[in-house]
């Protein structure tokens, strides 16, 4: 097994934007980290590899749309905006008049939650005990290793 997982899709500017979006969707608090961590990004990146190319492209494009539309809501790209500007932007995208933005936000939120709530360190924070059969290995050990925090994720 490789010692680290290198993201294929969440890289560069897109990764920066994703981490900022994920931290807004799942903010950090005193009990648990926020969504904007490389571990979350790693799970999402792994999942993106396994969905239809057309959906993947749309999601990746939408991350950049969110990043650059930040200018309209706080004067800067999303990742550089204040927390309140970020929330205002995502709220507008979630409930605003344009169906494509609502759809994009729903997809992005879903993938962020997938990346976060399938991690075993996060299970502890919600008191989820996980599988009953713990000795079953998965064909792709990388995702288990990422979810268990045994593999470093790099962008």
């Amino acid at each position: 097994m490789a010692e680290f997982y290198r993201c294929k899709y969440l890289t560069g500017r897109r990764l920066v934007a994703f981490l900022a979006i994920a931290d807004c969707i799942i903010p950090p608090d005193e009990d648990s980290p926020g969504g904007g961590t490389m571990a979350t990004a790693g799970v999402v990146d792994w999942a993106l590899e396994r969905i239809a190319a057309s959906l993947r492209s749309q999601l990746l494009l939408f991350i950049l749309v969110v990043e650059f539309m930040g200018i309209l809501f706080g004067g800067k790209p999303f990742s550089k905006n204040s927390e309140s500007a970020r929330k205002r932007q995502l709220s507008w995208m979630e409930s605003g008049p344009i169906g494509l933005f609502r759809m994009g936000f729903f997809g992005l939120k879903s993938y962020t939650c997938m990346g976060y709530y399938t991690r075993e360190d996060i299970w502890k924070t919600i008191d989820y005990e996980g599988p009953m059969l713990t000795d079953l290995e998965f064909v792709d050990p990388a995702i288990r290793a990422i979810c268990q925090g045994r593999m470093e994720v790099v962008g």
């Binding site: 396994r50 969905i51 929330k87 169906g99 609502r102 997938m114 079953l136």
Partner: protein, 501 residues
């Protein structure tokens, strides 16, 4: 590769698996039968009980979006079809739905003996008290406090270990889907099972398909990778909906049948949550054992118990930010229900093909369904509070998270309103796609006759939920099996005639 078969069955779910089983007598008498499946053949040890690892069991990773993205479908892409990840909920088609369907020959008298035989075949049981977990017990208590009828859900289980992971593959084989019952029987009788075989189209007694490599950890099939052309005397399409209408559309039948792909419905569903004051650990034990039929006739919905794993729960909750974080910290106190709208089968809701020939689901939820789902959320709220929940999370409420004392009972319907229904924001889902190859009298109003035979094509049959002319109202798999049983019967009865073609 070119091959010759007597019968080719496309799809291994409730429909295809049942047809294969019903053709065992023909296989035993020497007929050559192939059972094709687009998805892989997963062995029990593949099912690791982890959400992220199991996304490969589903089309689109478990979230097949409608064209406008407002609803996502969960549909199995595997040997066993969606019976691999259903909960085993076993309903007969209600008598009033037969009437609504109005298909000559599809009557309670015809289907009753089929239901009875199928219920034995899949080991249908009434869940005993040892299977009722806290979530289900609280649901029953809540309904009883309200004076509402509450009934047990019948299940198809054998030696269920109650680990609660039915929806991402049963590790022990307790759930009696086609992968446990009909498919092993069929294979034993000599029917050839071919996983990873995607059917592109059919022409006159020829199936055009492509076999792909078996993904790691799955069982390989008997055929080589590559394009394959299969001659067959009879072809049964049981790729589900949207799969079956898509195959027929790719085969050029859209010009012949105006209804092909149309009248698609999907039981739009909302999973809703209440927060109970104590730990109830909903994720152990059997997930679904009770439902209330109280509002089926008056408001077109059923409310059933449910359970989902953490990630899927976040999708259903429809929250984000600190609200999501705070609610998820109470994951072990979740009381969960799913509300299923009966849905209308409208001609405008349809399966179409994209420019690559892949199916697109063009579906717009009706105003009636939105009203019904809002009504159901109001009633679910009453059950949650009657059961003792502190708070509920309702996607169509003026304020999504609220406590019992914040909204007086008589104001609940006003508080949970269609005005808050925003498409693509409200987390609608579906696991019951139906229609697109509806049964009926003739080619003007339908695609097949009541035996699943495509009008004017004696060699071509359909055997899955796409046959439904309208919604089944209830969880559909037993009805699919009963219709597939009819297809099997027709093929057996006419074998003497078509075996000489």
């Amino acid at each position: 590769m070119r091959l010759d078969y007597d019968v080719v069955i496309v799809g291994t779910g409730a429909g295809g698996g049942t047809v294969a089983d019903r053709l065992i007598p023909l296989a035993r008498s020497g007929a050559k039968i192939a059972l094709l499946e687009a998805g892989p053949y997963f062995p029990h040890e593949y099912f690791t009980q982890r959400e992220i690892e199991m996304m490969g069991l589903f089309w689109f990773g478990g979230a097949w979006p409608t064209e406008d993205g407002s609803i996502t479908l969960a549909a199995g892409k595997a040997v066993g079809g969606s019976t691999l990840m259903y909960t085993g909920v076993t309903f007969r088609l209600p008598d009033d739905v037969f009437e609504e369907w109005g298909v000559s020959g599809i009557t309670p008298d015809d289907l009753r003996p089929r239901f009875e035989a199928l219920e034995k075949e899949v080991n249908m049981i009434e869940p005993g008290d040892d299977m009722i977990n806290d979530n289900n017990r609280l649901f029953k208590e809540g309904c009883e406090k309200l004076g509402w009828p509450v009934e047990k859900i019948m299940l198809n289980l054998k030696d269920c270990k109650q680990m609660g992971f039915c929806n991402i593959g049963c590790s022990t084989g307790g759930k009696q889907g086609t992968i446990e019952v009909q498919i092993p029987n069929s294979v034993k009788a000599g029917i050839e099972l071919v996983p990873n075989c995607n059917v592109e189209r059919v022409a006159d007694r020829i199936v055009y398909a492509e076999v792909k490599a078996a993904p790691p950890g799955t069982k390989a099939g008997p055929w080589q990778e590559g394009k394959v052309e299969i001659k067959a005397r009879r072809v049964v399409i049981a790729a589900g909906s949207p799969g079956s209408p898509a195959i027929l559309l790719r085969s050029g039948l859209g010009d012949k049948f105006q209804t092909l792909g149309r009248y698609f419905s999907l039981h739009p569903a909302l999973t809703v949550y209440g927060i109970y004051p104590e730990r109830i650990k909903n994720y152990r034990g059997f997930p679904k054992t009770y439902y209330t039929p109280k509002f089926s006739k008056s408001h077109n919905h059923y409310i059933e118990t449910a359970f989902y794993y953490p990630f899927i729960s976040t999708k259903h909750l429809g929250l984000w930010g600190q609200d999501l974080k705070d609610v998820m910290k109470k994951y072990n106190q979740f009381m969960t229900m799913i509300i299923l709208n009966h849905d209308l089968a409208l001609p405008s809701n349809r399966i179409v093909l994209d420019r690559h020939g892949e199916p697109k689901i063009r579906y717009k939820i009706s105003r009636e369904s939105v009203d019904s789902l809002c009504h159901a959320q109001a009633q679910a709220t009453r059950i949650f509070f009657a059961a003792g929940c502190e708070k509920v999370i309702m996607p169509c409420a003026d304020r999504m998270i609220f406590k019992a004392d914040e909204v007086p009972d008589e104001k609940i319907e006003e508080f949970i309103s269609p005005r808050n229904f925003i498409p693509n924001k409200i987390p609608l889902s579906s696991a019951h796609p139906q229609g697109g190859c509806r049964m009926g009298k003739g080619p003007d109003d339908s695609v097949t006759d009541s035996w699943g035979q495509v009008h004017g094509y004696p060699w071509l049959y359909v055997a899955d939920a796409s046959l439904f002319p309208k919604s089944s109202h209830v969880n559909p798999y037993l009805t699919i099996m009963a219709l597939a049983d009819r297809v099997g019967q027709r093929l057996r009865e006419t074998h003497g005639q078509w075996s000489r073609e």
